[in-house]
């Protein structure tokens, strides 16, 4: 077969694409142009593309789980997480136990103007307090407004999807996302976390020890 000149072939490619965009239904059976289906354009404000579940859109905070241990703040490459807290007294874990003192977060700010979306904070959090959400619509006209506080971060917990199943052959365990909406102080969850990691102390010097390598 003689070779078609590349000039004509090229015209063929663009014409074919135009035809496919205009008549996406097979074989042009329907001659009504339907570019909305044929094109790859997503008309953003009108229709929204759903990012994958794992998409690193924004970091959500499950405040009840946070113990202000500063691990995330320290492992942040940009130093963009600011945490302050205070101690409160919490009831004992079981009957007959002593009253414990627990950290409560007063301030948990992430400066999204600095954040590089690396996800290290989410990963290092030993208490399941930070999660990725695919939410992406939080742009602000002023750069200073990108500093989001714990209330805003907690609202995003609602948008955190469940963790995905793995392909066969994986040995990873599928994790669970804590339920949203338990707005009161949840000592039960803290208790679980405590028992899961007995080596980790909640006190600040314990967290420091963890950061320096003793906690492995």
């Amino acid at each position: 077969m003689p070779q078609l000149p590349g000039l004509l072939k090229g015209l063929g490619v663009t014409a074919r694409t135009a035809a496919r965009t205009l008549f996406p239904k097979r074989g042009m059976r329907t001659l009504i142009p339907a570019p909305q289906q044929g094109s790859v354009t997503v008309q953003y404000p009108h229709e929204k593309e759903a990012p994958p579940d794992r998409a690193r859109g924004v970091i959500a905070l499950h405040e009840e789980n946070c113990t202000a241990c500063m691990l995330c703040s320290r492992s942040c490459p940009d130093w963009c997480i600011y945490i302050e807290g205070h101690k409160v007294k919490a009831p004992p874990r079981r009957a007959g136990g002593a009253v414990r003192s627990v950290n409560v977060v007063d301030r948990f700010d992430i400066d999204y103007a600095l954040c590089m979306y690396c996800g290290i904070c989410v990963e290092v959090c030993p208490f399941d307090a930070l999660f990725w959400s695919p939410e992406y619509e939080y742009s602000e006209p002023h750069i200073a407004d990108l500093l989001h506080d714990r209330i805003r971060l907690s609202e995003w917990m609602e948008t955190v999807p469940e963790f995905l199943d793995y392909e066969p052959g994986s040995e990873q365990k599928v994790r669970k996302v804590p339920e949203f909406g338990t707005d009161d102080f949840a000592p039960a969850r803290k208790l679980e976390a405590d028992e899961a990691a007995p080596a980790r102390k909640l006190e600040s010097d314990g967290a420091r020890e963890l950061a320096s390598g003793a906690g492995s």
Binding site: G10, T14, T21, S39, V40, Q43
Partner: protein, 348 residues
């Protein structure tokens, strides 16, 4: 300019009134033509060829997008570069636009629907179309910008290389039609015959196919559309001669570009595709003053489609390659075309 022109003749208006109406119609037709081509091809067809949607929000299917753009352009600040030659800088877009306005003067769209039926119609069209290069050169020079200067110089070089094949390609048509008058060329095609079969006349694209090809290639270069868009060359000269233009001056360049594409499509239609004449009608039938423009428009859109289709598909040549192509291929080919046409004219 179309039906209205006939109307004015029939009404026997005074010269000034007739001229005013013609002018008014032309002033409406040219921006409308530019808008239509721009919307249909530059926005929508290009988008479809690239799996996109193009504009959708302004007006039905985004059809008023260009008007919105024009309004936006008008709101922009009018910026002159500090070192620019201000007067020339301001005049350049007007010169370019004037050249495309003047082209519309001789384009016939019906037996009487023509602004001025010049006897030297083609000659005039070729002459005024090359005026635009003057404007481009002015823009390139006056911008005091190296990119713009390179673009302007490229445009000048391109003009010399392409004006020649353009005119030589037209020569074949002129020889065959025995006239420089565009109306007469349409008549020659309408009354011609293909081996005794005269129903569809004899569109010169059949006998002057090589001429048509050369005309289209040269027109592409004249319009600085893509394989020959070196004067603009976004990725090397960042816009070439109009790099310093903003706001409504840039709008004028843009309008001129699309309007000239329209005009050249119309010229190709008149010379090669039989113009406004519809097979089966008497050449002077008054109804053609109404139907002619419609037929003409359809043919123009077809030719313009090809022009833009090529524009969206092809990469751009280099200036020296273009010169080589023009002087070593197109000009000898068009000369041969003239010789062959002449021989046939004498023999037949």
């Amino acid at each position: 300019m179309s039906a209205a022109a006939d109307l004015t003749g029939a009404l026997g208006l005074a010269y000034w009134a007739e001229t005013a109406i013609k002018l008014g119609v032309a002033l409406i037709v040219i921006p409308t033509a530019a808008l239509m081509l721009g919307y249909l091809f530059l926005l929508k067809m290009m988008a479809f060829m690239q799996s996109r949607l193009g504009p959708t929000d302004v007006g039905p299917h985004g059809s008023l997008q260009l008007i919105a753009d024009a309004v936006k352009f008008l709101q922009k600040e009018d910026i002159h570069p500090a070192a620019a030659d201000r007067r020339v800088f301001r005049a350049a877009p007007v010169v370019v636009l004037a050249s495309s306005f003047l082209l519309f003067v001789v384009l016939p769209t019906g037996p009487d629907a023509v602004v001025e039926n010049l006897d030297t119609g083609i000659f005039y069209a070729m002459a005024v179309s090359s005026l635009s290069v003057l404007g481009v050169l002015m823009a390139g020079w006056a911008s005091a910008n190296k990119y713009a200067l390179l673009g302007g110089l490229r445009a000048a070089g391109q003009l010399i290389a392409y004006e020649l094949p353009l005119i030589l390609a037209v020569m074949g048509v002129v020889i065959q039609a025995d006239s420089l008058n565009l109306q007469e060329i349409v008549r020659a095609q309408a009354e011609g015959e293909i081996f005794g079969f005269g129903l569809i006349g004899n569109p010169f694209i059949l006998t002057q196919f090589i001429g048509f090809l050369i005309f289209m290639i040269a027109a592409q270069a004249e319009l600085t559309q893509t394989p020959f868009d070196m004067p603009v060359a976004e990725t090397e000269l960042v816009g070439g001669f109009h790099v310093e233009y903003t706001g409504f001056r840039f709008l004028l360049f843009f309008m001129a570009e699309v309007a000239t594409a329209f005009a050249f499509s119309a010229l190709a239609t008149v010379m090669f595709l039989g113009g406004w004449w519809i097979p089966g009608f008497d050449f002077n039938a008054p109804i053609l003053n109404v139907l002619g423009p419609v037929v003409m428009l359809a043919k123009i859109l077809l030719v313009a489609f090809v022009i833009f289709w090529i524009r969206f598909t092809y990469p751009r040549l280099r200036e020296d390659q273009l010169q080589k192509f023009a002087w070593k291929v197109l000009i000898p080919l068009s000369l041969a075309n003239i010789v062959v046409t002449g021989i046939f004219k004498v023999v037949l």
